[in-house]
């Protein structure tokens, strides 16, 4: 079928061969891009640039994983970019107020949980379409963030916090380690636990899921809370990286996240998706931007190339799916 992983169980991986093939195709595309850029430029395969690339891709990758949970339930979360900006303000504000670092981190993540809970509340209780409720928070959260900062930025003086994003561990940027920290539990959740199965079932046919005893409302809460919490986590990483809290940061990242997820084989109609797909998708996008910079391609062209690539990759995925049926 597509990029769902899973394997021997009864999880949504009907055609193991094809699924792995698609994963490999994406990986192959990524490696091909790397090889090409290595040949075309002298600076691509330098430790500095690779570290940079991994940092660039890391945040989108984490957002894309959270986004994927939501899209699998046939929903969408447009707010993640705004949540990143908003939570960067929150953590900067808390640190400026003298709150201990670990409490600031926990509180910031708790904001992510709250925002996701609010989205699910709007969808489940108020009957709003996911597109609308998350669009509304997209704009409102930026507004609240700007109110808090009075339109400016809050500097972060906590060095332990700001050094984190610049640090390496075993030669790999700590930001990339954070991808792994998110991806492994996400994989266990989506592909190995029953809640993951419920996400797929709700995305496929929520009425059938409900009549089979699946708590559909709880599943939707779970999906949106995970997405917003991932976004809040990225907000922490971003604040650490740029050393400030600013509500206008991460503009358009929700689209990057959705694009990564879709490139990674997630179906916007729901019930199709994986954890590794969006990760690869995010790093493919990051590589394109990185490579374009190295090749001195006009940044306007970068946007066009990204758009074309999204169409091409998803089109081939569709073709493959139709062929597999």
């Amino acid at each position: 079928m597509s990029a769902e992983t899973v394997d021997s169980g009864t999880g949504p991986a009907p055609r193991k061969g094809v699924s792995i093939l698609f994963g490999l195709t994406l990986l192959g595309l990524l490696l091909f891009l790397w090889l090409l850029l290595g040949l075309a430029t002298n600076s691509f395969w330098t430790p500095n640039n690779i570290s940079n690339l991994l940092r660039q891709g890391a945040m989108t990758a984490i957002l894309a994983v959270g986004q994927t949970f939501v899209i699998i339930t046939a929903g969408i979360d447009l707010s993640v970019g705004a949540v990143v900006g908003f939570t960067s303000v929150i953590v900067a504000w808390l640190l400026a107020a003298g709150v201990p670092l670990w409490i600031a981190i926990i509180l910031t993540l708790a904001f992510g949980v709250l925002i996701g809970g609010f989205h699910a509340f709007g969808i489940v209780r108020m009957g709003l379409p996911p597109f609308i409720i998350t669009l509304a928070t997209l704009t409102s959260l930026r507004g609240i963030g700007l109110l808090i900062t009075n339109g400016s930025t809050i500097s972060i003086t906590n060095e332990a916090f700001t050094n984190f994003s610049r640090a390496d561990f075993l030669g790999v940027p700590s930001l990339f380690w954070m991808v792994i920290v998110v991806a492994i539990p996400a994989y266990v959740f989506l592909h190995l636990s029953r809640f993951g199965r419920y996400l797929f079932a709700v995305g496929s046919n929520s009425e059938a899921a409900r009549l089979s005893g699946v708590n559909v409302h709880r599943t939707i809460y779970l999906a949106y809370i995970l997405s917003s919490t991932c976004a809040a986590f990225v907000g922490l990483l971003l604040a650490s990286r740029i050393g400030i809290g600013n509500a206008t940061q991460a503009e358009g990242w929700e689209l990057q996240a959705i694009a990564s997820s879709v490139i990674g084989g997630t179906s916007l109609f729901g019930a199709v998706g994986s954890v590794h797909g969006p990760l690869l998708g995010a790093f493919i996008l990051a590589t394109i931007n990185n490579g374009a910079n190295l090749l001195n391609v006009n940044s306007f062209w970068q946007r066009i190339i990204t758009g074309v690539l999204i169409i091409v990759i998803v089109y081939f995925d569709q073709l493959r799916r139709r062929g597999a049926r």
Partner: protein
């Protein structure tokens, strides 16, 4: 109808090529000769030969699943026939797509209105056939023309209003007017009064007679005997996909028609074993909810309780209510003599109720997910150890159901959408067998299922009863509930109107109670 002619003149659509009144009144206009439709091995319509005479109102009656809708689809070009011929005005025609049917003047008005609720009445009436000038739609001209048609037909309806703001009955009238505008020679009504009020029905009947007066041939499909006798000139009866007879309305009566509608031969497939009835598993007292009212019945271990009625009689709604899908508004439920409040589906499942719902597609299955996931969906809680699902148990459970139920699939990973109706139904059942229950509710378990699988499902019922379970069987197919039920309850308009012991009442009696003649 001058209004209609004017409209036809205004429009220049290419479809209305049919000349008016090509055949004198009383001569055959459409002739089916051994028309047959097979879906795979299932014969939905056995070779049928019916002749429709120009200008007559020809009723078609039959039970659910008798082949009426197959017949409509064949005549309107929605599906292709397997064999046989259709003669239109004396010439053999293909009728293999809807455009051809419409171009020849064959149209249908469906029970459920298939129009665009957000567009205006006028826009709907001209949909696909808009009045244009210089590439722009002439909205005002269309509204005026539509209004004149509606006025002319005596409908008090505003052409500019959004279709969705009208009642279902009014929408039905718009759909009829739409068909009438298109140079229709042959108009099929598929149970048009199902959702209409008495007054709306009367209005529709006037319209039908008027169309007949203008030479249009009407095919009228209905469950309601009184309507057939009020409207029709002739009536044809279908039973199990077979055309069993055509009568002039003056030469028959409702008793004869009902007898014709029912299959009297008891097929061998109804495998019935009797078990001594045990304790009462569930009892409802005056249970009411959305779509059903004041239902009191009980189910004992070892017995099948059948619920019969026409579609929309409230049986499925009762089942969903009992299962906790909708909150009940009045009445009580006793589970093994203990009063319970079934607030949601999980509560019902935990008590021991399983529901194989009416619609596999909408309620039963996650079609674009694998078979295995569907089968395990109710039991993932049980298959989980710690944080993760026990992969081994998950595989075993899915494979066991696939094996036990003889689901024909190469693997549990195949998507449900790739399976046939019979196999899909087995997957729904497998889901509940793996969960286990005391009370199984099967809602239309054999719709779209081949005969072999039907027999397997009935044998499975016996196996469940033997283990001490009770079954509620909901079916619109009378022979099925009649032959299998230890007790049979008849529903009509949301209420339980009659109850019979095993084979205590005749088919005629049951059907009469369901229809409410």
């Amino acid at each position: 109808m001058p209004g209609l002619d004017e409209v036809s003149d205004i429009k220049s659509g290419g479809l209305k090529t049919a000349a008016r009144h090509p055949v004198p009144k009383g001569e055959p206009i459409l002739e089916m000769r051994a028309l047959q439709k097979k879906y795979g091995a299932v014969e939905a319509l056995k070779p049928a030969s019916i002749t429709f005479l120009s200008g007559e109102i020809h009723a078609i009656v039959g039970e659910n699943g008798a082949g009426k809708s197959t017949l409509i689809k064949l005549l309107t070009g929605v599906i292709r026939r397997t064999s046989g011929e259709v003669y239109w005005c004396g010439k053999s025609v293909q009728l293999d797509n809807p455009h051809e049917a419409i171009a020849r003047g064959i149209n249908a008005v469906h029970q459920e209105v298939v129009l665009c609720p957000h567009l205006s009445v006028a826009a709907n009436m001209f949909l696909g056939d808009e009045i244009n000038s210089a590439g722009l739609m002439r909205k005002r001209a269309m509204t005026e023309a539509a209004q004149s048609v509606l006025d002319d037909l005596g409908f008090n309806l505003p052409a500019a209003a959004a279709l969705g703001s009208l009642t279902i009955g009014q929408q039905q009238l718009v759909a009829t007017a739409r068909a009438a505008m298109r140079g229709t020679q042959f108009l099929i009504f598929d149970e048009p009064t199902a959702y209409l009020t008495r007054q709306e029905s009367a209005q529709l009947f006037r319209l039908i007679r008027r169309l007949q007066g203008e030479g249009v041939t009407i095919v009228y499909i209905s469950h309601r005997m009184e309507e057939v006798f009020e409207l029709a000139d002739r009536v044809s009866v279908l039973r199990d996909g077979t055309h069993v007879g055509t009568r002039k309305i003056g030469e028959t009566n409702d008793a004869e028609l009902i007898t014709l509608m029912i299959n009297r031969t008891i097929e061998q497939i109804y495998h019935k074993e009797h078990f001594p009835a045990g304790e009462v598993i569930v009892e409802t007292r005056g249970l009411s909810g959305p779509g059903f009212e004041d239902v009191s019945l009980n189910v004992r271990a070892g017995e099948i309780v059948g619920l019969y009625g026409l579609i929309g009689a409230g049986r499925s709604e009762f089942a969903l209510g009992l299962y906790g899908r909708h909150a009940s508004t009045a009445g009580e439920v006793y589970w093994q003599e203990r009063k319970v409040n079934i607030a949601n589906e999980r509560t019902a499942m935990d008590l021991g109720i399983a529901l194989a719902p009416e619609s596999r597609r909408d309620q039963g299955l996650c079609l674009n997910l694998p078979i295995g996931l569907n089968i395990n969906l109710p039991v993932f809680g049980r298959l989980t150890r710690g944080l993760t699902i026990n992969r081994q148990k998950e595989i075993e459970n899915a494979d066991r159901q696939i094996r036990d139920l003889k689901i024909k699939t190469p693997s549990r990973r195949v998507l449900v959408s790739a399976m046939s109706g019979g196999n899909q139904q087995k997957i729904v059942i497998g889901k509940w067998l793996s969960h286990g229950a005391k009370l199984f509710i099967f809602d239309e378990p054999t719709v779209g299922v081949d005969v072999g699988t039907k027999a397997e499902i009935y044998r499975l019922f016996a196996r469940l009863l033997e283990k001490g379970a009770g079954i509620i069987l909901i079916s619109s197919y009378l022979p099925e509930v009649y032959e299998l039920s230890d007790r049979l309850h008849v529903f009509r308009r949301g209420r339980l109107v009659a109850s019979h012991d095993y084979r205590a009442a005749s088919h005629e009696e049951v059907l009469t109670q369901a229809i409410g003649v």
